[in-house]
């Protein structure tokens, strides 16, 4: 294995900075807060599903109602408990009553209430066990197949129509893809609810819905059997419904979820307090369901310069890692993301890319690193752009990345055509094979550009983290340290959905998750 040299101590102290940065955010913005999507998630967790006749998801109706009545800070389940206690009905009926809007205004007596809460607690426990059972069944199914060789080939489908997506996904798998990602409809992350049912219209992608998850999962399980190769399914959770989608994803047996502690803040202008809470809750779900998360640092290099700001990617990866640990995740499930986005016209750009790829691979040695292909500098010329992907494939192979997103020669034009994906696979298969052991032929010269660049990037990210720790992550984001984008704690979408928990806040789902994951320690 090819290895770049750098000062290991710098890595250790950087990690320590990141841990403190994340914990500071936890103390100031996460602990003691809940959000409407967290409440909705808790309801879903307990089995509330489907939509009203107006197509309004039930969980949204409930939470909006309780929000209006100002009772959310006590926790949606608290109100439901009260209703159960008063009208002596079961959980679902109570929820129904609230949806009808005919709930009683009385407060139930303490010990009656406590008994009901115990009921809900045990319901939560039951549901938790069901979720774990699902996970175990999937693990069992997976174990029928032999593990694939890394880098794993990750292909996207994005027709907007789940049924077309299925066709393409199966074709892609047959052509050699290991992982299928269903790209979400443009800016779904900005929707404050999760659409319902199977969908056939979307912009730049297909809506993430429970039904769509189910359909694609089933289709991929079929090809997996046919091809005797397990096909992973990926979707996106970052956004205003991060925890809900995380829950739906784990319930429907997804393997990987895009889930980033800062992507929503930076690229979707979602409020940071909201996002910090949501990512924490959603990652606890990923932790118990053993879902691999993928972070989105690769996006930084599309808005910021990939040479100048390379160190911000590394710094952010360490922060994302720290947040994930805080939510009880293990390194083996942290698909930290970086990218091959340096201007190809720059002399020795390939060396800079390789250096970065090796550095990140080495620093997160136990994590399933996600490596993004060139996008920003792809051109309208597919013959030429295919070459950038070839060099990306070479860098990925030489540095043995784990999750390899397939570059598309038509990246600058459209969502990939079926033949674009096919050519992409021919490209990666050729390069991975023809240069299979290239990395093992060489040792890197002591004073080489590869080493000096790696040290430089590490040093700069170390210094950046030091500053971020001093001023706090919220401040750092406010002044545009990441992706050259500025966001303040009070700005952005979804802030109104953040609530300080009252002392009688009640949420057994959160209790279970925290206690199973050891989150927040």
């Amino acid at each position: 294995m090819l290895k770049v040299r750098y000062d290991k101590r710098l890595v250790d102290s950087s990690r320590e900075f990141a841990r403190k940065i994340a914990f500071d955010i936890y103390q100031r913005f996460i602990r003691g807060f809940t959000t409407d999507t967290i409440e909705r998630t808790s309801l879903r967790f307990l089995g509330i599903e489907g939509a009203t006749s107006y197509g309004h998801p039930k969980v949204n109706v409930v939470v909006e109602k309780l929000n209006k009545s100002g009772s959310l800070s006590a926790g949606a389940l608290n109100v439901i408990a009260n209703e159960m206690a008063i009208s002596g009905v079961d959980f679902n009926t109570a929820v129904g009553i609230i949806i009808e809007g005919s709930e009683s205004s009385f407060k139930a007596g303490k010990e009656k209430l406590d008994r009901v809460k115990e009921e809900i607690r045990s319901l939560a426990g039951k549901k938790y066990n069901e979720l774990i059972k699902k996970r175990e069944q999937r693990e069992e199914f997976k174990s029928l197949f032999k593990p694939q060789k890394t880098p794993l080939k990750y292909l996207i489908v994005a027709t907007g129509n789940i049924y077309d997506d299925v066709v393409q996904a199966q074709v892609a798998a047959e052509a050699g893809a290991d992982i299928i990602a269903v790209i979400r409809s443009t800016a779904q992350s900005l929707l404050d609810y999760v659409p319902e049912g199977a969908t056939t219209e979307g912009y730049g992608g297909t809506y993430a819905t429970q039904e769509n998850f189910k359909i694609m999962r089933a289709a991929l399980d079929d090809v997996s059997k046919k091809l005797e190769r397990y096909i992973y399914l990926t979707n996106y959770s970052s956004g205003l419904c991060m925890p809900e989608i995380a829950y739906l994803g784990s319930y429907e047996g997804l393997d990987i979820l895009l889930n980033d502690a800062m992507y929503g803040i930076l690229f979707r202008d979602i409020n940071m307090k909201r996002t910090f809470c949501d990512q924490f809750f959603s990652r606890m779900i990923c932790a118990v369901s053993k879902i691999i998360i993928n972070t989105g640092e690769d996006n930084y290099l599309t808005t910021a310069d990939a040479v100048e700001r390379a160190h911000t990617v590394l710094a952010s990866l360490l922060i994302n890692e720290a947040f994930a640990k805080l939510a009880g995740m293990r390194s083996e499930y942290m698909g930290l993301g970086h990218a091959f986005e340096i201007n190809p016209q720059i002399e020795n750009s390939f060396l800079l890319e390789l250096s970065q790829a090796l550095l990140i691979r080495q620093i997160f040695k136990r994590s399933p690193i996600k490596y993004m292909p060139p996008t920003k500098h792809m051109t309208g010329d597919p013959f030429y752009s295919n070459l950038l992907d070839a060099m990306f494939n070479l860098a990925s192979k030489m540095s043995n990345q784990h999750i390899h997103l397939m570059g598309m020669m038509t990246e600058a034009m459209h969502n990939p055509l079926m033949m674009d994906r096919y050519e992409s696979l021919k490209n990666v298969n050729y390069i991975f094979n023809t240069a299979a052991d290239l990395a093992n032929q060489f040792s890197i010269k002591k004073d080489s550009l590869l080493n000096s660049r790696a040290s430089e990037v590490l040093k700069r990210s170390h210094d950046l983290l030091k500053n971020v720790l001093e001023e706090g992550l919220d401040r750092a984001i406010s002044i545009g340290e990441f992706a050259d984008i500025k966001r303040t704690p009070e700005s952005g979408k979804g802030l109104t959905g953040v609530f300080k928990m009252s002392d009688d806040y009640f949420n057994p789902v959160m209790e279970i998750l925290i206690n199973k994951t050891g989150g927040a320690r």
């Binding site: 199966q170 074709v171 892609a172 047959e174 052509a175 443009t186 800016a187 900005l190 912009y203 730049g204 690229f267 979707r268 202008d269 599309t302 808005t303 920003k376 309208g380 600058a412 459209h414 969502n415 055509l417 079926m418 033949m419 994906r421 096919y422």
Partner: protein, 249 residues
């Protein structure tokens, strides 16, 4: 090189007028002995002669991909094609810093945004922000430009409000996502709203994005359209050019 001067042209493969072009496509047909011929017929339906099917590969169950080369008889008379071109001289920032002061005598106000669903701000930022694009500084850097960059995720409505509020001279719309012509729809929507409010003549209307060009922009009701690789100085020069015209009026 005679090619340059004749106005009747055909595609040029490796010799004048051979008409050779390359085509690739996928057909929903299974990969088998027949596939190649079906691909050939498809190419012939495109009007190609002496079709050479060089690639016939199975991309998946029931799908076959083709690459073909063939001779096209299409002849274009380039003199007969008339294309709306937007004529103006391109100046450097330094030149404009001086000329605008001299000939316009006040700051030019521009409002820019990437409206609608489209969240791609890198393009409009490249034109407006200090750092600019490919070493060419953005309009914020210009002495006589006052820039309001509204970024993305803002509605056309708000966009126009802002333009009025700051009394903008030029309105710069960026559209990057083109799926199902969402860019045309959204751009048209902006123009409609502007017309409804009777503001058409009030602003210099500029459209930009990787798939935009002058003819498209003009057809949508804009004054000009800038595509992939545009440099800020081009845009600044164009705005200056139009401001001069307006002054004259």
């Amino acid at each position: 090189m005679s090619q340059l001067f004749s106005s009747l042209i055909k595609a040029y493969g490796d010799r004048k007028d051979d008409g050779v072009i390359q085509v690739s496509f996928t057909l929903p047909v299974p990969y088998n002995q027949k596939a190649k011929q079906i691909g050939k017929i498809f190419a012939e339906r495109l009007g190609l002669r002496e079709v050479n099917v060089t690639t016939v590969e199975k991309v998946g169950e029931g799908f076959t991909m083709f690459v073909v080369y063939g001779h096209s008889d299409i002849v274009l008379d380039i003199d007969k094609i008339d294309i709306p071109v937007v004529e103006f001289t391109i100046y450097s920032r330094e030149q404009l810093d001086e000329m605008i002061g001299k000939n316009i005598g006040r700051k030019i106000k521009v409002v820019g945004a990437c409206t609608g669903f489209d969240a791609h701000t890198v393009g409009i930022d490249a034109i407006l922000n200090m750092k600019g694009y490919a070493g060419d500084y953005g309009l914020e850097r210009y002495r006589w430009f006052e820039v309001y960059n509204l970024g993305a995720q803002i509605s056309n409505e708000k966009f126009i409000e802002k333009a009025l509020e700051v009394q903008a001279d030029a309105v710069l719309l960026s559209q990057v996502v083109t799926q199902r012509n969402i860019h045309k729809e959204n751009a048209l929507d902006l123009i409609k709203r502007i017309e409804e409010q009777g503001l058409k003549r009030r602003f210099i209307l500029i459209l930009g994005g990787p798939r935009i060009d002058h003819p498209l922009a003009i057809s949508l009701g804009f004054d000009a359209g800038f595509g992939a690789g545009t440099r800020p100085s081009e845009v600044a020069s164009y705005i200056y050019h139009r401001m001069l015209e307006k002054v004259k009026e």
